[in-house]
Symmetry: C2
Subunit: 252 residues, 2 copies
Amino acid sequence: MIFIIGLGPGREDEMTPRALEALERSDVIVGYKAYIDLLVSSFGHKKLIPSAMKQEVERCRQAAELALAGNNVALVSGGDAGVYGMAGPMLEVLDTLEAQDYHDKKLEVEIIPGITSACSAAAVLGAPLTHDFAVVSLSDLLTPWKLIEKRLTLAAEADFVICLYNPASRNRKDYLKKACEAVMTARNGSTPSGWVRNAGRNGQTHKILPLSELKDEELDMFCTVIIGNSGTRMLGGRMVTPRGYKVQGSTQ
Amino acid sequence: MIFIIGLGPGREDEMTPRALEALERSDVIVGYKAYIDLLVSSFGHKKLIPSAMKQEVERCRQAAELALAGNNVALVSGGDAGVYGMAGPMLEVLDTLEAQDYHDKKLEVEIIPGITSACSAAAVLGAPLTHDFAVVSLSDLLTPWKLIEKRLTLAAEADFVICLYNPASRNRKDYLKKACEAVMTARNGSTPSGWVRNAGRNGQTHKILPLSELKDEELDMFCTVIIGNSGTRMLGGRMVTPRGYKVQGSTQ
């Protein structure tokens, strides 16, 4: 049995009871080191197997092998298990194993969702996701930058609120700037935007600022960015994207 | 104090401890009737105020008045509090009250995220959200259909995985069909797609089928739809959108 589990933003009180119960039922917990660290205090009695970044496929293979050897295995992702998470590569790896007749019995797989960064970051910034939105990762490890840029340009043209995952890393210092420029081809520089670092975790910080200034922020892979649409405005210090309700006396 | 709370898909074991604690700290719980119903068994000792659909602004006003009268108030949404949820209209209503000098002291507001339908539906269908995606509501109560259609067309052109909220209701029987046609302007009819009814709740059902057949499905407002991108494929009966990892021996 393999549980593919989304741990949510990181605070233990934002992991769901369903996720916690699956962890409790597991013999082994496999995941990226930073997520395994979150589990040491409550699940230190389990076999914990942390692995490095960029070892996603190896991690899935290991999880599959442990499960085939008879263990209940939890494979954990931060945020949701599906949104750029481990559910995808795990199902791909299992498909490979099945194609190779690697095992007689199908492993049972259960995917357990968690709160994704778009939602945890939005809650910190206000209510920017009350209307249609697009989620784009700025990591070009696996996606050509040209495609990322095309998606950003079209998302801007469609007036989607835009949420950026992985907005920067050591080797991609200018990507946020390039992304903002792509969005500004069809969106005003005064558009309320914001970032949250460590949303829903220890050390949470955030900042709200116009899109034109966002491009010069120094962010890292622990940040999530939200860029408003043409209707997003600042209300009481928070970003709000109106859905279109008639709120009497409001400035909408 | 006002807590704006996302309850997640509906199962009690997918509500976060943070959400449950805020409900416990509240004197009054306000929300759409179907969500209040979910809380009766555990929070029947609280004052529960259910309201009808389309009464969002009235509901927010009532929550604000109860809070101004000295109550701790929980305003609940299904899924996440922000994704088409009550956080937006609540912040708009509070802004109106502040503009009117309605009260001396600012109310404290805490927004508590929950698992949104995109994630709970994706977990049922497989791993369709492992790459960039767009979330679009097909409800045209507050958004002109022309804008919805434009967003769908551009999202298809950008090769986003597309998640549809509110895909149909009694008065919008042909909207799903029109939406699929907009997406098919730039996406193959064979693209794996799926819907989930009551994702993560009692009565959950789902179906995976090609985009060309999705348009004729009879759905309702309890359904969430996910349309794959050009890379999405069927693996072991599930929808998977590869992120681009090299999975040796795979058919990718």
